[in-house]
Amino acid sequence: MSLPIAPKPAIRRFHQASWDEKIIFELSTPGERGVLVSRPEPALSEAVGDVVAGLPAGLRREKKAALPEMAQMRVLRHYLRLSQENLGADLNIDVGQGTCTMKYSPKVNDALIRTTKLVDMHPLQDEGDAQGVLGLIYNLERMIAEISGMHSVSLHTSGGSTAIWTNIAMIRAFHESNGEGEQRDEVITTIFSHPSNAATAKAAGYKVVTLYPDAEGYPDADALRAVIGPRTAAIMITNPEDTGIFNPRVKEWVDLAHSVGALASYDQANANGILGITRARDAGFDVCHFNLHKTFSTPHACGGPGAGANAVSEALAPFLPGPVIEKVGDRFALNADRPQSIGKVAPFYGVVPNLVRAYSWIMALGAEGLRAVAEIAVLNNNYLMKRILEIPGASAPYATGRRRIEQVRYSWEGLFEETGITSEEIGVRATDFGMHYWTSHHPYVVPQPFTLEPTESYSMTELDEYAAVLAEVAREARETPEVVRTAPHNQTVHHTHHDDLDDPERWAITWRAYQRKYFS
């Protein structure tokens, strides 16, 4: 063969790195060291004697912990190989994590946080020494207050679900402060709202009432009217919902809640499609939260740390977690003297590196940029929907023929009825092309679901590539279904057997448990 090289095929010939790494304990070589620890100075040792020998009876560890013994570069190499067996949004066209907003986390923000001026700050230092970071957090709070239209903001929580917990904890404290804590024992949500709304409400002691959508997939206002009343503590809803459908009557919902003395809580974890378009407070909400790791670009980090922002109306402000940062003249000060506060929701002031990233992201975009983020995200979504619906067997249930906001919950129902291939099987096969998607929360309201959210970060050609992969897998489902059923084929690992994971006699949650159960 010689030049010229044939054009690239339409579908990428992807193969995930497969290092076939051992478990780290198998790499141990007795005597090797990865790092050495600063030892007590001779004079100090002399002054205090043998502190280990001096431990009280029973408190001195008899056998050293059976950790692996490895030289430094061997540890590094092992973990770098594991990193290569991961994709991550920087490599993957990560539009398949619908609801999770896998957008670009700008590299400059990662660089900015790695300063000793942040890394080496202790949270209880003199406020005078922390003016930079306190001021930055304060300003981020003000920017998020503006974006939500709310009065006050707390950035303490370290994830989305814990931010929702904080919403319900403030709602509970509010009703208790009015003497209505006992009376209001129900929280109303919708089946297409994020399930953490129901889960956190339950954890806070509430009974959860779930509403189902009307025939077109819109939240059912008549159902709300049928159940809301003096027992209602709050409605906790997402909008747009997981279907990407915006509830046009959302203000009516909030007004209904207020008419019975309930509060309205808005899950804006993912506000990506409505930044600068519409705001929580303008619809009358009392509480809302954002995930900084969705809407505001901080990386997902394999499942955290994320960061949450809780924004509240003036009436709810006294209940925010503490301490809060106040601006006194041109100084920033912490105020912990807040008797109605729900108290701490996390150590100190939140996931500070992510707060700096989010601040930097907003500062890089400004008002016009945030609005452009929303608009492009919505354009991308409707464009991708067009491409997906061109695939035979794929559909977008509900709101037929209408536009969607930032994501769509699609269905392979047609393909499934035709071939018996499930959405999960399609998803696993898609990983063979370096793509991935998530199906849906349980229970599956949409049959054979998959949820795509392209965000603003992916180019048109990347969206085309993603759609082409799904089209290819759908073709395979019809023509060579066994290829789909036996996937993955190009992955780090092969089809994994999950049976042992559900049996207490057989599961192995740690290497030591595995050794004990199978080799002793």
């Binding site: 953490s196 339950k202 009974k207 009432v209 779930t210 018996g420 999960e424 599956y444």
Partner: protein
């Protein structure tokens, strides 16, 4: 252990559909249908399901009956058939039952049948209550909850069942109506059995946030919510259904599987009550009916629990029902309302609107209820 599938095709299932007849039970109807140019489609549907099984397990042997009752379709997709039954007149319910028995005797573990409610009822009549069955939808009437959504889906489920011993089972209802009644404009389906049906659950472990709940755990949780909602002074008329069976189990009672039992303060008052007996009980004391979604069509009343009649319910006051069902059951309705059809349209209309459905220990769903305007034998193919 290797598992085996027993396949049974009702060769005349569905012939009534293109002929405009509501059902295909009875030789004269079948003859009438065939005379109108009808074509049995159960064979094609069986092949669609079997093709999926063949792709996944090309060497599996299917235990089946001769000819159009199974072996023809099995061979048509390239699988080997072990024929254990030969029909004399391949169209009666008695044949279906006899064939089922033969498949079971030959060691079939999963009864895969191709037909409609009538076939399901005949298969269930001889099946051990713990033995799974699965329907390839091919009938005219399909009120029962034991059918997959399509022939290919049934094939995929059966193929999975062969290789995955942990595939879960769920208790579903087998309902059937007398077709002669349908053709004369009346629908009065009866509950004939509660059977075990395999179902697919998400298994890619793609979790976000809340722990997903298996259907079995969801039934347990929903039943727990119903038990928690009961008080000691009210008599509860426990209707039939998989979820109400679990309610009874949690109360420590052995429930009449297909009947209505009455409990109060955790104790059984009356088993398998008739409408008349229910009327007597509710006349004297506060009572509530505990009902669940029966079958695949979303009926709360009037399908399999006709003892809980409008007359009974009218005596229960403004809030006569304690409805218990899993979220999955509600979402499976794909937005269609729950239905009440007691035969008393005025009473049915009084229930229409939104109803609270207990879905868990601390969760309630709010779901629309309708009285069917134009009741009939709508098929769910």
């Amino acid at each position: 252990m290797t598992r085996s599938i027993g396949l049974l095709i009702n060769p005349v299932a569905g012939v009534g559909v293109p002929a405009g007849l509501k059902g295909s039970d009875g030789a004269d109807v079948q003859a009438a249908a065939l005379a109108r140019g009808a074509r049995a489609r159960s064979g094609e549907r069986a092949q669609a399901a079997l093709a999926v099984i063949a792709a996944a397990h090309p060497h599996v042997e299917i235990i089946t009956a001769e000819g159009a009752m199974g072996a023809d379709a099995v061979r048509a997709v390239g699988l080997s058939a072990r024929v254990v039954y030969r029909a004399e007149s391949p169209s009666t319910g008695a044949d279906t039952a006899a064939a089922t028995r033969a498949l079971l005797d030959a060691g079939a573990d999963l009864l895969l049948f191709v037909g409609g409610d009538g076939t399901a009822r005949d298969v269930a009549s001889v099946l051990h209550p713990e033995q799974p069955m699965l329907g390839v939808p091919a009938g005219v009437k399909m009120y029962s909850g034991c059918f997959a959504v399509s022939p290919s889906a049934a094939g995929a489920l059966a193929a999975r069942w062969l290789s995955d011993e942990r595939l879960p089972l769920e208790r579903r209802e087998v309902l059937d109506v007398d077709e002669e009644q349908i053709r004369h404009g009346r629908v009065d389906p009866k509950l004939f059995a509660l059977v075990q049906v395999p179902y697919l659950v998400g298994r890619t472990q793609s979790r976000k946030s809340a722990t997903p709940v298996s259907e079995a755990a969801a039934v347990t949780a929903a039943a727990r919510g119903a038990v928690a909602a009961m008080d000691d002074t009210t008599a509860y008329l426990l209707g039939p259904g998989g979820t109400t069976l679990e309610v009874a189990r949690q109360l420590g009672l052995a429930k009449t599987p297909l009947g209505v039992d009455v409990v109060r303060a955790g104790g059984l008052i009356l088993a398998d009550a008739s409408e008349q007996q229910l009327l007597e009980i509710v006349a004297g004391a506060p009572a509530k009916a505990v009902v669940t979604v029966i079958g695949g069509q979303g009926f709360l009343l009037g399908r399999g629990n006709q003892q809980i009649s409008a007359a009974v319910l009218e005596r229960l006051g403004a809030d006569p029902l304690l409805v218990v069902a899993t979220e999955e059951k509600l979402t499976a309705l794909a937005g269609r309302p729950l239905l009440v059809d007691t035969g008393n349209p005025k009473f049915d209309r009084s229930l229409a609107g939104y109803i609270r459905v207990i879905t868990g220990a601390h969760t309630v769903g709010v779901y629309p209820v309708q009285a069917p305007e134009n009741e009939g034998a709508q098929s769910c193919v």
